[in-house]
Structure formats: structure tokens, C-alpha cells
Symmetry: C2
Subunit: 520 residues, 2 copies
């Protein structure tokens, strides 16, 4: 994104204003009954946003311009503002208010791996912190380092497909490729990545790798970290290129040190990923279960015994009632959406249907599946509409073993409800399943109060504590960023944190890479 | 293993003498025609083996005895000899000759994680190198550190199953559990690990984790590193316990730093692994392909399009002729053994059969499958018989993308044949398949000459160079040890090696853990 021009009105929303989706009337009525709505004041226009005034050092600017070209070192306020935060709800509220507490001094747009190395070299010499930036869709504070001044490396120019191996079914993609463009380029070869996170429209390949992203079709296609066979990382100490075979016993799997490193150990500049043929057929359908517990039992059966679906998405009672099929149009129970992609999907669906029916599932036919497909990217647009309507909406997520999942669900719900005013809605679903467990994704809608950011901070902390106590991981696919950093440290333990610090010092002796992100 | 008693005669063979398998007559005749056999002199009895005489430091012994009990600090020559090497062919030849250039000063047998920590603490204080030891089945020099004197930590007393979660299908197993015992313990709960490497009879759970082992049924059950959801590691700096959910985006996956670390970063004391119900049905069958190229094409189809088999094992022309179905009884072409385990295996086999037939495979029925199952653990016994008969036999392995596999096969064969005398046999098979590629496993049988260890060193170096040049990984499932260390460094690059050194220094400041293994 270049920060100006056609999508300038997208700056404080997920999508551009022209894509705005009004809330359904039923939703507005329900919200008005449940919540104290506080209509958001009109958003401050981008040119009027307040940011720290911090002139970049002249010598640094000169060196950067020499390294990447004058046109690719950008210092306009609009561009700085766009690269200042991710797109969590607190980020959006700060943008709407027009007050950013941090912003990059400049945005540098290197053309390739060599230029990324050059930028890191300059920043190391001058001890200028840098934040790598792809689609800017972090919802955990992942692009806003805690340094008092920093530069952002926007990877938007690393947008090419470098190689396709049709026999081995791999493709080498540059880090700055937005997902839809990657899909187009792969489609020219008949392939798909199968990675479809909710951030699909804007997120980039490098960001998926740096945060261990997981898409809606992960049950069938795998998590992003499972797709990566090789990666190239630019670090202040030089280049690391790891992975050279489908699998190896040659020492620790060093790819896994950079996947999930969130820009703190280096800048991932390209990844080689496993791809699959564009599916010949797709089939999505809905099932109803009496309760979330019954639904969990059924999806566990499918996850453990097969057949393997491509998408499995089970909403709890509240989400089914509120969100999944239109507001308040449910007749109770829980909705499961199952999707199959590939060849002979109908045979697979039939086998799976027998399993689901044996678990007391009631088939709802293809319509709920079509509905879900039609609306699969809607949630962040709906969040804009909720904010417009004066409600607060945010999400959080975890994963746990099957045996712990019901308790995690209950405890996190209770923690959120306990921390927020009456009328708060907590919706949840399972959307990524494994043989040993599943993810849990919560959506919270509440009265914003006078300081919604502070209110949410308290609720989120309560939820995070509940996740830790109930044995979940602090994040299944959003990443650690700044928001989860303290819980992450507890989750891996002090010695492991020390280890990460040591690795960081080794690769980034000047400590310039995303300080304050991930590593406490 | 305690080094004395019932299996004392196993010390210089894979299996005990009572399990010895004579070579088939046809094999003996063929070998006599092809090779210059050099009958091995009678093996030196264990009590007469020459080892470095190195008295352990008295203060160290006292401290160790206090930590683990006097009975668990062993210094008898027999025990020291048994823990001195792994079981590669050069290791066996050294054992038969009765000359070991390195051997532990003592073997310490801690009872649990806390005692392992205590031993590491003592050894760190006194700067005594230590080698963790499970089944001692390394074929890459993985249990013989290059220090002039060292102690061995035998994990044999960590042999319990700590937990089973039947809902989540996970089990927590201690590191010293031999695989058959782990199988028994899991079977009490109706589960199987599905991890069946050729070393099954002797190797241990911790060793699988430390070396990224991969079993014969990896196509269906997954590699060992894919089974591990959590692990506990004792390091000189304390305990690391990582993994707490089926999947996570909470930073780098630190499990992957310890999996494959070969005892250089810590001692893995337990792992939590994904388990599966004992399969209701199993079905194995054979197929014939005109050529290795045709067979590769067919197994790639199955790996990429399904249905997923549990075992896929394709022998090249020479292995088919020589080894797979009895010596010299093949009618040419290549043998594929396919195995299915689970429910409804016959339906799966039928679907797969259609795929294989469409790739010009000729069905050979169930007999070759039964044959393979019956003889799946025979190879190392056969190696003993070959050594007895005066031939030299050893194996090596790699993995590569499908597009590179034919070239890797050709180049490695050529490199081995070029480095060894006429008459050398090079057999190869694919036994682990992935969507993006497969493993390649080579068996070499040649005349031993006057110095078989030196002869093999030259041939192995030529093969390793060929693997690197053709784009394979230096090891798919044997590990790095000392034998692959130099190629490993080239494979991951100097900066990554530095990184590993840094991690090692952080966890093992005194540098006591397996010096000379893995990290150059």
C-alpha cells in the first residue's frame, strides 16, 4: 500500500468506505437492547492525524536513499500514519481519534533481498530500530515496536513469484506478495496455496510466515508453517537460507526458528511453499448440533478418524444465535459448516455425513455452506459497522487439546463476561482442528464506555490469564506481537525466553529488529 | 542395556548370536562371484577389548554417586565398551577387532529428570563432557563425542509412561523407553505410536526425538518430529518444557530446536506424542513397475493425490533383483510394497490399486507384502551375516524434491560405484514419501579390502558430496552425528552454524554436551 490515492479512505477501517456493510436491522435492534452504544465521533481525516514529530537522522536518510533509491524512502505523514499500527480494534480506535503515539520516521521500500540487507546494515550501523511491514494486518501490535523512534521496511516491492516446480508442487514466493496476487500468479500454473485467512484480501506471504498464520481451510491444506519447505531471511549479520528437502534429520529444523519470529530475528524475504492443484470441486454444507459439547464431539471424530474435510467450523450456541446465519434467526443449537475441496468431494462428504449423523448431527443442506462462503471475509467489515454504530467489537483466540477445550471455552467466556459490563456478547467457534485438539476463536461485542481501549485491555488480560490457567496457548494464529508478550514469556518459561534473547543478540547485535515485539 | 548377562554376545552384532540369520545360498554364491571376500577374523571377546584407560576424577565419581546412587555409576570395561560407539558398520568392525579409540570413563544411570539435571550440574562444574545414550543404535557416530574423556548418561531407567490422554490421543513417554516396551504400554490403552524404524527392537523414545527419526510407516503415521506435541529437556542451565497445544502461533516453535539436537543442547527426558488407536485392519501388497522411474511416478501420484497409504516402499532395479524378494529371484523391474493400516483398508487399497494400475503397475498380490512384513527388521541381521561372510555392507540415505530425485539417485549411485572396487552392489529404495518429495535409502555391499573403514570413509564422502551437489539433504532420518557434520555445516550455511553454536553456549556454557556431535 502506498498510503495515498484510491484507498486513502481505508486508513481507519478494514475495508474502504465503498465496501462498508451496514448492520442488519435485527442486529441494530439487538445491540440497542443489550448495550449502551456510544456513537463514535466522525473519524479524524488522515491529514489531521497527530503523530510524534521525529525527524530521521540526515545521514541515515542519505544512506537509505542511496541504497533503495530516493523514491523509495517515504516520509509523508499519510504514509507514516498508515504504517504506524496494525488493525486491531484499539488500533482502529486510535486511528479514528486521530492520535498515534508511535509512528515510523520514514517508510523504506527495498526492491529485493539485497536491498533489505543493505537497509538492515545501515540501520544497524546507526542503531535505528526497524519494523518489517507486509499487509499491516496485525491485530496484536506486531508492527509497532516499542522504540521511541523507528523506521518501517515495507516489503511491497518484493511481489514476485520466483519459481514454480510443478513436479514437486512447490512455489517460491516473495514476502511482499499480497495473497490475492499470489493466488493469481499460482493460478497461471494451475496451483493454489489453499491459505485463506480472514485477512486474505490484504495480508502478505511474508507476514504469514513471520506470524505462523493459519487459514480458514487449514484442516485441509495445513497451517502456513506446514506449507513452508524453505525460507530466506535477511538479518543484520547476513543471509540465512534454510530448508532443502521435503523433510530432513539434519539437525534442528531452523525454519521453525524464523517462522513465528515476527520480524525480531530477521526479515523473511521469500518462502518456498507446498502448493496444490486448484481443486476440481468444492462442496460446503451445514449441520446442526444440539449443543457445543455435542458439536465438539462430532468434529473431534472427523479430525481423528476422518474423512478429512477442508474446512471445519463449529460455532457455539451464542455465535450460532447471533452471528453465523443472520442475527437471531437460529432455532438454537450449534451450527457446523463443513467444506470439502478436491476431487470426488461428494463421496467424501457422504462418508463424513454418516459420521456426523451418527453423532446426532442434523443435516442443514448446502445453504449454510454457501452463506458462510459468501460471508467468509465479512467479519472485519462488520467490526467497522459495529464501531460506526457505537459498539465495541474485538476478537481473541487460542488452541488446546480436545480434553481441555470445553474448560478453556467456559473459563475464557467467564473471564471476559466478568471483566465487561452486562449485555456483553461473547461468541466462539472452533475453526482449525487437529488430531490432538483444536483452536477456539472468540468474538466480543460490548458497550465501549468512555475509554474502550482501557476497558478492553482489562478484559483481554483476564481472558489471557484464563487461557493460561486452563492450559491453552496464548495464540493459535494471531501471533504474539506486543499484546501477548507477557503471557508468551510465561508459556515458554524464563530459560526459553533467555534462549530467544540470545538468538536475537546473535543475529541482530544492535538490537534494531522490532524491539519490544515477541521477545520480552 | 546393562552390558552384562544375557545379551553379552550382542556386543559386536546387531542382534544376539542366537538370532543370527545365515545368508541364503544364492546370496553367498553371488557374493563369491562379485566380490573379493575377506573372512573376518573371529571377534575379540568383550573382556579383551582395548580401550583408553582413563580413570574418572574421584570428586566427580563421589558427586555422581551421591546424585544417582552408587549402583548407578558403572565403570566396568564391558559397560564402558558397550556405550563407546553406536552401531554403524565401522563401529561393528571396531568392536569385532576389539580396539576402541574412545570410551566413556563411566556410565551414569539417573532415575528421572531431576537426577539428569543433577548429573549435568556436576559435569558442568567439573567440565566433564557427557554423551546421552538411549538404545545406542546410532549409525552416524552420534554417541561418541570427540572429547578425550567423557561420561555417558544412560537413560535406561527413564522407562515409564507418564500420562495418557485418551480423548486428545496423546501420551507422555519417558526418553529411555525402548520402542517395544512403549508399544506394550500404549497397547494397554488401545493405542499405538505407529513409529516403526528399522532400529525398532532396540532404539528408544528419546533417541527418536533427538535425531528426528522416521519409521517405515511414516507415510501413514508421520515422522517422529511430527508426533511430538510437547517435550521436556534437561540442560545445564535448567529445564525447558515446550509445547502446550496441538498448534500455536506463539513465537518460534522451540520444540524444533531440540528435536534433532542430538544431545548437544540438552537431554530430552520425556516427550508427549500423538498416538492412534491400534489399527483394526492391516493389508500389505506388492506391485511391479517396469522401471524405477515408472515406480517413482506412481508413488508420487499416491503421495500427491492419495489415497494415503501407511507404508510405501519402492525398490530400484538392483534392490529388487538382489534384496527385496530373495536373492536373484526377480524377473526385472521394480518392486513396490504398499501397506494400509486402519479401518476399511481394503476400500483404500482398492482405490489406490486403480491409481497404481493406471500408472502401469502390475499387481503382485499380498505375498510380497507379507514377505516384507516378515523381514522388515532383517537388514541389520543380514549385515552381520555379510560381515561374517567377509563382505562389507553399509547404508546411507537422503531426501529430495520429486523433481530432483532421479538425479540424486543416479549421482549418488555413480559416486559410490566410482569410489569402490568393481563388483560393488548399490541397492536403493524410496521408503518415506511426502507431497513435495521423498527419501532415498542406499545399501552398499562391497569387497572390504585391507582397511574397510578407510575405504568406506572415501566412498561415503563421495556419496555425501554427490548428495549435496544434487540438492538432497545430508540425512533424512539417520541424523548428523559426527559422520555428517561437515556436510551439515555446508547445508545450513556458516551463519546458521554460528547460530547453533550460540544457542549451545547459552544452554551449555561449559560445553559439556556431546562435544563434536552435530555442531562443527
Amino acid at each position: 500500500m502506498n498510503g495515498e490515492g484510491e484507498d486513502a479512505d481505508r486508513w481507519n477501517r478494514w475495508g474502504s468506505a465503498s465496501e462498508a456493510q451496514p448492520l442488519p436491522d435485527s442486529a441494530s435492534e439487538l445491540l440497542a437492547q443489550l448495550l449502551e452504544l456510544t456513537p463514535t465521533p466522525p473519524a479524524v481525516p488522515l491529514p489531521e492525524v497527530a503523530m510524534p514529530v521525529a525527524e530521521p537522522d540526515g545521514a541515515v536518510l542519505t544512506a537509505l536513499r542511496a541504497a533503495v533509491g530516493t523514491d523509495h524512502v517515504l516520509t509523508s505523514p499519510a504514509i507514516r500514519a498508515r504504517h504506524a499500527t496494525g488493525l486491531s480494534t484499539p488500533d482502529l480506535l486510535r486511528r479514528r481519534r486521530g492520535v498515534l503515539h508511535r509512528a515510523p520516521q520514514a517508510v523504506v521500500r527495498p526492491a529485493d533481498h539485497a536491498e533489505v540487507l543493505a537497509v538492515l546494515d545501515i540501520c544497524s550501523q546507526h542503531r535505528v530500530p526497524v519494523a518489517p511491514f507486509g499487509g499491516g494486518t496485525s491485530v496484536v501490535g506486531g508492527v509497532t515496536p516499542t522504540a521511541t523512534a523507528h523506521l518501517t521496511i515495507d516489503l511491497g516491492r518484493l511481489d514476485r513469484i520466483l519459481a514454480v516446480d510443478a513436479v514437486s508442487r512447490t512455489a517460491t514466493l516473495q514476502a511482499g506478495l499480497p495473497t490475492p496476487r499470489a493466488a493469481e500468479l499460482l493460478a497461471e500454473h494451475g496451483f493454489t496455496l489453499g491459505h485463506v485467512p480472514q485477512s486474505y484480501e490484504y495480508a502478505t506471504i511474508g507476514g504469514f510466515a513471520a506470524t505462523r498464520s493459519c487459514g480458514q481451510a487449514s484442516t485441509g491444506y495445513g497451517r502456513f508453517d506446514e506449507l513452508v519447505t524453505e525460507l530466506t531471511v535477511a538479518t543484520p549479520r547476513g543471509t540465512i537460507r534454510v530448508g532443502r528437502a521435503p523433510a530432513s534429520a539434519a539437525g534442528p529444523d531452523l525454519r521453525q526458528l524464523f517462522l513465528g519470529s515476527e520480524g525480531t530475528l530477521g526479515v523473511i524475504t521469500d518462502v518456498t511453499v507446498r502448493v496444490r492443484p486448484i481443486p476440481a470441486q468444492t462442496h460446503y454444507e451445514g449441520w446442526r448440533f444440539e449443543s457445543f459439547a455435542a458439536g465438539l464431539h462430532a468434529v473431534r471424530r472427523l479430525a481423528q478418524e476422518g474423512p478429512r474435510a477442508t474446512v471445519l467450523r463449529l460455532s457455539d450456541e451464542v455465535e450460532t444465535l447471533i452471528g453465523a446465519t443472520g442475527w437471531g434467526q437460529s432455532d438454537g443449537g450449534c451450527l457446523l459448516v463443513v467444506g470439502y475441496e478436491g476431487e470426488q468431494v461428494h463421496a467424501t462428504a457422504e462418508t463424513a455425513a454418516a459420521v456426523l449423523a451418527a453423532q446426532d448431527g442434523q443435516p442443514l443442506g448446502a445453504e449454510p455452506g454457501r452463506q458462510w462462503q459468501r460471508h467468509r471475509f465479512d467479519a472485519p467489515y462488520l467490526r467497522d459497522a459495529l464501531l460506526d454504530a457505537g459498539a465495541f467489537a474485538e476478537t481473541l483466540e487460542t488452541a488446546a487439546y480436545w480434553s481441555r477445550l470445553p474448560e478453556v471455552h467456559e473459563r475464557v467466556r467467564a473471564a471476559i463476561l466478568g471483566a465487561l459490563p452486562e449485555g456483553t456478547l461473547v461468541l466462539a467457534h472452533v475453526s482449525h482442528v487437529y488430531e490432538t485438539g483444536a483452536s477456539l476463536y472468540f468474538t466480543v461485542i460490548c458497550s465501549p464506555g468512555s475509554d474502550p481501549i482501557d476497558r478492553w485491555r482489562t478484559a483481554k488480560a483476564a481472558a489471557s490469564d484464563a487461557i493460561a490457567r486452563a492450559g491453552g496457548t496464548i495464540t493459535h494464529h494471531h501471533g504474539v506481537g506486543t499484546d501477548h508478550r507477557d503471557w508468551y514469556a510465561t508459556e515458554i518459561g524464563e530459560l526459553a525466553v533467555d534462549l530467544l534473547r540470545t538468538v536475537k543478540r546473535q543475529l541482530d547485535p544492535a538490537g534494531i529488529l522490532n524491539p519490544g515485539i515477541l521477545v520480552p
